[in-house]
Subunit: 245 residues, 2 copies
């Protein structure tokens, strides 16, 4: 098995936003899909984890895009393991267009949890380290995102059936959607996302009343938080740039 | 080109609901994906339509499931054209498990609209009819769904960025999600959807305040409506059965 996994996705009309761009949550889906395929093919996928009564948990994801794929354009996602420690592993991604041009990079940090106790579980470092490579991923690591919930009024959202993942918790992709929905249409009309970073802190559950917070730090730079009963369960940081097209 | 298109999808952990089943909206996504691939490969895909200043519009979809795919199970979707008239074409689907067993069938009705006037446009009957087959699709055609908005209190929902498709309208899949979200978790816990039918009547737009209606007609049988300013833009009909697993 190659250390780097390589997977092709084709952007379809119905997965584009109203500007004809692949949406960040859809890209996030492709990344999770590629990560799953890479891990499954190498003995540390969800089924392998389940056998040890553990599962993967996405802790952080940073996605930095230079350009966005167009309609019907096949994109290629390369994914590989960049770092392994006792409790965390860092997985990188490169997204390229059909002509080989890089569209963006992503970095993700994953942990394992025990499916019963929901507590952190040690990773199989030996198995994971076999696939370590030093392929470059030239974007900043996910970092600290400052709290903004105290300084902004929240938008209320109640977690619904379609928000839930297989564990009965708010789906990682849905956190992204709810955060992006805080921006007005004019922002999407005139700008594009240069960097999107998200930190998952706690599990959202069915019926939970969330409050969604967004604060502009300076032009084109925003921090966001999703809170439940005053405590954040997710933070995000979004950097926009004027739209090129 | 074969008249019947055949496409494989693999259900991934993150696309399952909390019961470990592929969600109806995800299945809907697979169907639209298969339809797009079938049409694109045969000269009447979205790009072909765009050249004539037209686009496809999904008018109705009925999906009837005998069973649901399991995690990591490749499913196969067969799709073909069942009927063609001046303004509508009917496309059928069969969904099978990896062992060839039928999981379900679907029927969809499509129209073309002019992208400028948003009015119905005639179909290229000759091109479409070349691919007509009499392969059986043994489920009832999408039918009339009676209005329930007058008899039920609506749940308010405002259309957001992540709801929008490439035309800037409420995405066909999101209609399904918003309707399913009207059921409580207990229903999903104890039952499964036997038939899901949806009729798209008008376009939902950004910022629109929708009211979502659901009425139990008899045990396990519900009709739903999505309205804007008292006028329905979508109707649906959902039949449940006790969950087998």
């Amino acid at each position: 098995m190659n250390k780097v996994g390589e997977y092709t996705y084709v952007t379809e009309a119905y997965s584009l936003d109203f500007r004809g761009r692949v949406m960040i949550p859809t890209l996030g889906n492709y990344l999770l899909h590629a990560a799953t395929r890479h891990a499954t093919g190498r003995g540390f996928g969800y089924s392998d984890m389940n056998q040890k009564q553990t599962t993967w948990v996405l802790s952080r994801l940073a996605l930095q895009m230079e350009g966005y794929p167009l309609l019907d354009e096949p994109i290629r996602i390369y994914t590989w393991i960049d770092e392994v420690s006792r409790l965390f592993t860092e997985r990188c991604f490169e997204i390229t267009a059909s002509d080989g041009k890089t569209l963006g990079y992503a970095r993700s940090i994953w942990a394992a949890i025990d499916t019963e106790s929901r507590r952190a579980a040690p990773l199989d470092e030996t198995a994971l380290k076999e696939y370590l490579t030093d392929r470059p991923c030239p974007i900043a690591r996910p970092g600290k995102i400052r709290p903004v919930e105290g300084e902004t009024e929240g938008v209320v959202y109640r977690v619904k059936y379609s928000d839930l993942d297989v564990n009965g918790h708010l789906n990682s992709i849905k956190y992204m959607e709810h955060i992006l929905d805080l921006f007005d249409l004019e922002t999407f009309r005139t700008k594009e996302i240069s960097r999107f970073e998200i930190a998952y802190q706690a599990e959202g559950r069915y019926g939970m009343d969330l409050s969604l917070h967004l604060k502009e730090l300076q032009e084109n730079q925003y921090d966001a938080a999703i809170c439940n009963e005053g405590k954040s369960i997710c933070r995000a940081s979004i950097i926009w740039r004027p739209s090129v097209s």
